[in-house]
Structure formats: C-alpha cells, structure tokens
Amino acid sequence: MKWIRVNMSDLSVKVEDVPKKYEQMGGRWLTSSIIADEVPATCHPLGPLNKVVIAPGILSGTTAPSSGRISVGTKSPLTGGIKEANAGAKFGQYLKRMGYSAIIIEGQPKNKQSRYLLNISKEKIELVGADEYKFMRLYELNEKLAAKYGKDVGIACVGPAAEHLLAGTGVAFNDVENRPARYAGRGGVGAAFASKGLKAIVVEAVTGQAAILNNELFEIGRKKLLAALQEHAVTKPKGALNTYGTAVLVNILNEAGALPTRNFSSGTFEGAKKISGEAMAEAAAKNPQAGMMGHRCHPGCVIGCSVVYPDAQGKSHTSVEYETLWAIGANCGIDDLDAIAQMNTLCNDIGLDTIEFGDAVAVAMEGGLLPFGDAKGAIALLEEVRKGSPLGKIIGSGCGTVGRVFGVRRVPAVKNQGMPAYEPRVIKGIGVTYITTPMGADHTAGYSIAPEILGVGGKFDPHTNEGKVKLSKDFQATTCFIDSTGCCVFTAFAILDIPSGFEGMVEACNAVTGANWTTGDAYEIGLNILKTEHQFNLSAGFTQNDDRPPEFMRLEPVPPHNMIWDMADSELDSIWK
C-alpha cells in the first residue's frame, strides 16, 4: 500500500510506501494515528503545523456491503482536539482501488489568496491552480469538475463557508449523481481543509476491487455480513432505514420526550410529525420524479438510508437526514419541511455542517437575534455565512461562539461542539458519549440510543445512570473499529443483534490486511484508537473538566420528564480507568 503526501508549503506531491506500523490500518484508525504521530497537539488548527488526513476504510473499494466510508481526520478548529468525521462516497472506493490508503495534506501556501486542486489519476498526481473556483458554491463546482474531469470522478471539496475558515464547516464528497451532499460534517474539518489552500480533490473513477490477500476468506466474511444486513428488520431491503430514512427517528424521539426542542428547552415538539420520515416518504411517493426514498450514498451500500425529498415546487433536496431535520427543525422551532429541506441544500451548497448550523441558529434565537420558528430569518442567515459578513462568521463558527457573542447561557455543547438530536438529560447513555468522546458532542461516536430507545442490541432504561458508562465505552470502542473498516456505522444495528455479521466484518478485514483478528481483538483495537485520541486531547491541554456537560443541564429540568443531568463527575471520569 502507498499513501499520498501533499505539502502545500512547497506544493510538492509524494507517493510513499505506507510504513509497516500503519499497514493494517484504515479509516479512523489511520487518520487518528497519523494525526497523533505527526501533528503537534498544541498547534493552531488553522496553521501550517496541522494536517488533514483523508483515509478510506480497510474494506473500502471491495465488494463488502456498505463499506464505502471515507474518514477525514485533523486537529479540530471547533474543539481544539482530535477529530475524525466520515462520509459515504465513491471517492474513497476509487482511492483504495488505486492502491492508496490515505492522502496526507500538510503545510500551507504562502499566498493565502491562492486556491489549488489536487488531481489524482492512475497516470499522475498533480496540484493545479484553482483560483477560478475560489468561493464557488459546491453544486456549481461539482458540475464544473464533473464536466472537466469526467462524470464518474470522485470529488472532495469545501464551500465558501469553509474558505472563510469557519469552525462549523465540513468536507463535501460527491454522491453518485455528483451532488455535493455527502458530508464529513463535524468539527470544522472543512475549515482545516480550506486552510491548506485546497478547494477540491478529484479522483479518477476506478472499477474493480481493491487488493485482497485472501479471496476465499473475504467471500466468507462478506457473505456473513451481507446476510446479517439483509436479515435485520432495520437494515434489510424495504426495512425501516430503506423505507423511511434516518428521519424515522423524529417521531420516536418525540414520543420518548427526548427530541431537543427550541434550543434544548423541551423534549417534545408539537410539529414533529410534519418533519418526520413518514412525512418525507409520503411526499416522495406523491412525486417519484423528484423524490426518492432508499437512496445510496455510495455504490455498494445494501441498506440505502438516504432520502431525496421533493418540495412543493417539485425541487429535489438530497440527503435530508434525521439530524438535519431535528437541528434546523425542532431545535429551531421550525416545522416547515420545505424550508428545512431548502436550508439542508443551502448548507451543502456553502459547506456548512447542518448540526452545528442548527445549534448555532437555535442559540441565536434564544439570544433574541430572531424568533424561534423564523424559517425565513434562518435562511437569510445562511446567505450571511456564504458572504462571510461579521454576523455570518459568528453563525458559521458554531453554537459556542454564538452563545458567547449573544450572552446565552444555554449552549448545548461539549468541547465546544454542538449536541446532536438526543436529549442527554433523558437518555443518559448518549449523554456519557457526548461528554466523554474525544470528538466533542457526537452521537455517532457511541450510539447507545440503539439499546436505550430502539430496542436494538439489547435493552437499557434510558432514564437511569446505572451501567451507562460501560455501555457508552463499549459502543465507543466498537464504533472506533467500525469507523476504521469503512463500513457504515448503521451496519451496527444488524451486527449488534446478529453476531455472525460482526464476525463476517472482522473476517473480511483479515482477508484484506492479512491479520488474524477475532471480534474480541476488534474491540481492543477500537479501545486503543479511543485511547490514542484521548491522549492527543490531553496533550493539547484538555483535562477531565472538558469531559463535563454544559452547566444548564445540571440545573434546568427538561420537560416533559423534568429530568436533569445527575451523573457524578467521578463516574464520568471512570471511563478512562
């Protein structure tokens, strides 16, 4: 295996053999290891000493089901700690099939006004000037790049909000239809990427299969994982995810009294049904020309959880996910599905993370900038972000910044990253994940919602603290491994209930890497990744006081359950013992 090292200070590109230590790694394991080894923990995230590492998973580029995830790692401009965000896209599949396990971007051009594009093809890899794309919106950019380099290319790019170096921005990957809708969204990875002077990376389309050392074992593993995904009610064809998308969660979290509403001041939203997966499925059925349920973010996903939502005008909005519907919807008191879908498309177009944007707007609403429910006002704020006006820069920097500027105390963030769509005062296990993950408040880092609310992978009472540290730790460690395989984290729903599926995933990884891992080893690998990330944060200056909930959650009971965050700090700290 090789990796590509791009130095933006002298604009050089090198292809290097992957050192032995990293040979079996992929995805998050690889990004976090390189960041921990090569980036000084105390460096400025937007400076020349930070690096951006882009790595497909161990199984990406193979025929293993739903394995086309690509990780982006860096020191986060939002949290100041280590960051990995991932997306599903053909980009990583091509890269892996070409024999590259990572792209490492380092340094910084002297002229901050210049823009570059990295073009990776089988023949050559070159950095070319890209000033013509400066501050270009991403739908237009993707169209232009597909026209120039070919309609099947893989594209990673950053929007104008990221070029303003705002901490609430992500890296966009193109989907099969060349829409910039698949985001490694969180933690300001977009700003880190843009700080290198890079506007986009283009990878030539490559068919076939990435290198596999043991084809027989691979087939055994692939089939076991596939069987689990096709059997489980959540992941199977015409199952819950395929039929309703991730937004099928809106109603259940609302019925659980744990759908954060109007900046985390309530756990129920009266407009929930209007912004639910059921509502989108109905709209898609009425307009199949413009709408589609069961969209796949990358070729080879067998689950297909994504949604193309048709608005009343018949315009398509791609990848309208639960987190977005919640963040811009319930959390801002907005129940207009068309307005939320429009903002989803705008966020994708200018490069913003929809969760951080929704949290930022909700805090601004609390601070009196605009009233809750004001969809028009929120849409206008997106234009401010695109332009990079002072107000736009405040909003685009995330909810922590907005809270400081507007004097709002109720800021739902951990390590300065805005919380996703689950109320931690009511669902304690996800609270432990938000608070302790090295990523800052992140649900995907340890999705204990599965057993706490959904009855997937066991059953835990969401309201109690008992056993939640262990539950979150187990989920966090296992997720670290899954995020390294390139498999979508949603495969976890099936393999939590069907152990042979997890065995299959590990066997397929063994077939690709030549390793001999058991599922127990996979857990240990995940735990070690977690420890590496935690150690980076400690070296960056974090202490146990950064593993704490926002104060208001200890003081303000949230209706309808009227619960507060009541877990002892010592219990939280025990996760690292």
């Binding site: 009610a233 959540v234 819950a240 995810l241 039929t243 309703y244 998308g245 991730t246 937004a247 099928v248 969660l249 109603n251 259940i252 019925e255 659980a256 009294g257 756990g267 129920t268 049904k273 639910s276 997966g277 059921e278 959880c305 639960y322 987190e323 649900h443 995907t444 999705y447 919602i449 599965a450 609310i453 959904l454 009855g455 997937v456 009472d461 969401p462 309201h463 984290v489 949603f490 729903f493 309808p560 359950h561």
Partner: protein, 80 residues
C-alpha cells in the same frame, strides 16, 4: 370506559384496525386493559410491534393502560 389516545408510526397505521387513514386517534378501551390487549383490539401485527411508549416512557405489553393516557406504537426502527 377509559379513553386513551393511540398513535401509530412507521407503517403500523396501514396494518391496524384503525379509523381510516388516521395515525392518531382516541379509543375507548375496557377497564384494566393491558398494552397486549390493545394490540389485539387494534389487530396490530404482534410480532412487528417493537417499542411502545405510554406518556413518553417505554412500557411492555403487561402494562395496564389508564384513562387519558397516550400510547404510541413503533415497529423496529433505527437511524442516526
């Protein structure tokens, strides 16, 4: 007779003996009805009902439903 509010989600409304097209409706139930009895009353596919919330809290089929309560039925679903 206790009167409760029923909400059906994620495809269950099409599978229930419920007022035409409604995903949420009021229902009179015999005194002392358990959730399991209501599943039968509504003709819901028992093996497909996975999670049941009564007044925002998860309950099992043995729970006795009281007047004025809200009960929501879900099949096995997940997302993220």
């Amino acid at each position: 007779m206790p009167k409760i509010t029923v909400a059906l989600y994620a495809g269950l409304k099409a599978r229930a003996h419920a007022p035409e097209g409604a995903s949420e409706f009021d229902l009179d139930i015999p005194e002392g009805s358990k959730i399991g009895d209501i599943i039968k009353l509504l003709d819901l596919p028992d093996d497909e009902v996975a999670n049941i919330f009564v007044d925002r809290s998860l309950k099992d089929r043995e729970y006795i439903v009281k007047d004025g309560q809200r009960i929501a039925f879900f099949p096995l679903i997940a997302g993220g």
